[in-house]
Subunit: 331 residues, 2 copies
């Protein structure tokens, strides 16, 4: 079914209030979930909302907790999320990284004891919209085997890098080749994956989503490369935040108290200069004008589709899966 942005936001707010969240947290939180959904990232917007409410009910997410600064070293600050609402805290931390960068060129916030930030791209976008190069990542519970392992021991640890072009260029990449959500979509559609997504039980590459959902031998993006990247990202966030690593989170048994990094870089004292804009536009044109595989599809500059998707959601409403909508109504 289709629903308007405002009606969806109102529905999120109703549910948050009912689950004991006061308006100072509930209003911005409903807004963040509506925004993420409007940008087309339903997996971390409306579809994830019931899971988030479950975490609230279990007490894993403390809706009125505020992040606290616990240390400073030059342009690096260490914060504790106090197990608050992940997307609200992440937004504050990205704002803080930009404040530091405004003075020192770069700002890093290392955050511990926070909760799932939902769509990581929101924070990259937030920084790039204000003219900052923005880099952030989070760790997670172990859901993927490292290269050479059968057993899950590394996180999807999504990495976001956003650049202040117009529209914004951004990668928002999980370290797994496909998310479990994508595997489910392919399985429900009765389709094979377009490329290998994991190993079967005999250790051969497979494109069968059900096999991978069952044995959890999901492939890192870029095989050994994504596996390595996942490990170093976890190491850095754990070191700088003093928080839990993927190993610690997994041993705790639930994906809470995760650790995150927010980096903002001010491109120059004057922000994004005209000559920078020109260089960036040259890069975009060079990619977009390269001879395409399919004459009807331009080579892709990552993330530039989001503005269009958002405008479409605002004018035409947001498509929400019927069963998810029923679920919302029951909450």
């Amino acid at each position: 079914m289709k629903i308007s942005y405002l009606d969806l936001e109102k529905e999120f707010l109703r549910i948050l209030r009912k689950h004991g969240v006061s308006d100072d947290s509930a209003i911005p939180c409903a807004h963040e979930f509506a925004e993420t959904t409007a940008y087309g990232v339903v997996s971390h917007g409306v579809n994830r909302f019931p899971v988030f409410i479950g975490q609230l009910d279990k007490g894993e997410v403390k809706p009125h907790a505020n992040p606290v600064k616990v240390g400073t070293f030059g342009a690096i600050e260490k914060w504790d999320g106090q197990q608050g609402i992940g997307n609200l805290i992440a937004k504050k931390m990205m704002d803080r990284a930009m404040e530091i960068a405004s003075m020192q060129g770069i700002g890093i916030v290392a955050l511990r004891n926070t909760n799932h930030w939902m769509r990581g791209g929101s924070y990259g976008y937030q920084g790039a919209k204000k003219g900052f190069i923005s880099i952030c990542w989070t760790n997670s519970i172990a859901v993927m085997p490292a290269w050479g392992a059968k057993q899950c021991c590394i996180g999807t640890n999504p990495l976001i890098i956003a650049v202040p072009t117009n529209p914004i260029t951004m990668v928002d990449m999980s370290m797994s080749m496909f998310s479990y959500g994508k595997l489910q979509n392919y399985r429900l559609a009765g389709k094979a994956l377009p490329i290998d997504g994991g190993f079967d039980n005999e250790g051969n590459y497979t494109r069968d989503p059900a096999t991978i959902e069952a044995n959890k031998r999901i492939l890192p993006m870029g095989y050994w490369k994504g596996s390595g990247l996942s490990i170093v990202l976890d190491m850095i966030v754990t070191m700088l935040s003093g928080g839990l690593s993927v190993s610690d989170i997994t041993k705790s048994g639930s994906e809470t108290n995760v650790s995150q990094i927010f980096i903002a870089i001010k491109p120059s004292n004057e922000g994004v200069t005209a000559s920078m804009q020109k260089s960036l536009q040259d890069i975009v044109s060079y990619v977009e004008n390269a001879e395409p595989c399919d004459p009807n599809i331009r080579p892709r500059v990552p993330g530039q589709e989001f503005e269009k998707r958002y405008r479409k959601s605002m004018t035409e409403g947001i498509e929400v899966n019927d069963s998810i909508f029923e679920k919302l109504k029951s909450l």
Copy 2:
């Protein structure tokens, strides 16, 4: 054939002197090439040395040029490499990033007009050895199609992230799934690639190295993910350094005047603390002790093999391909 570290270094020095390089540049440059080879990265050590000499002879590499600082903004410095020797300049820039980080927690050096840095991992290692989290990347000439393109329009833009564990953990990853050097190795050995490495002329995935070497439709690592990452890395380095982008370098017709980024992060005022070391060791153990695919091969923590390789080179000598050695003697 086998050659000792010192004999190989002496041979590099002889050639550099013969090609007009004075000892203040020739001695450290010979040392860097010997080190890279001893760490087992022959592709960017001894095997690349003749190409480097060719660039010197053509005047693309100016052996006595020194990098010049052209701007500062907080913890970010902008330098111009003056087309000097890539590996010597990169080493200086990483040292400078560490100096800034010692005072401000983090230091970024954005470098333009430099030359190929040979093994990027050298600079990650250099920083991590001194206790800094080290992140660096370079752009390159376009040798890979972007996602959705047939034509080469993005760089391999290797990204290095090194973490001060013992031994050092490091990814040193090109944005292509395989390098052209690897494709050549497989072709010469008469083997197919173990996974898809590019597209054939009909646009199907292929594991045939010769096809990809011919049509240059090499795959980004992680398909669309590596393509996107390559683009944002190029954008950032171009913005911050004010130097040439992949597009500019490609239009210039030769891979010189490239742009690079060096980031050092001091993990705390006291460097790497005991509690950080413990967390890092927990991450390593968690990965290494996960159930392996092959009971005889431990799951891989990236980069930890280099110390062992280096010690082996030092005690047993360095294996150099006969034809490469003949080539050296002729230079």
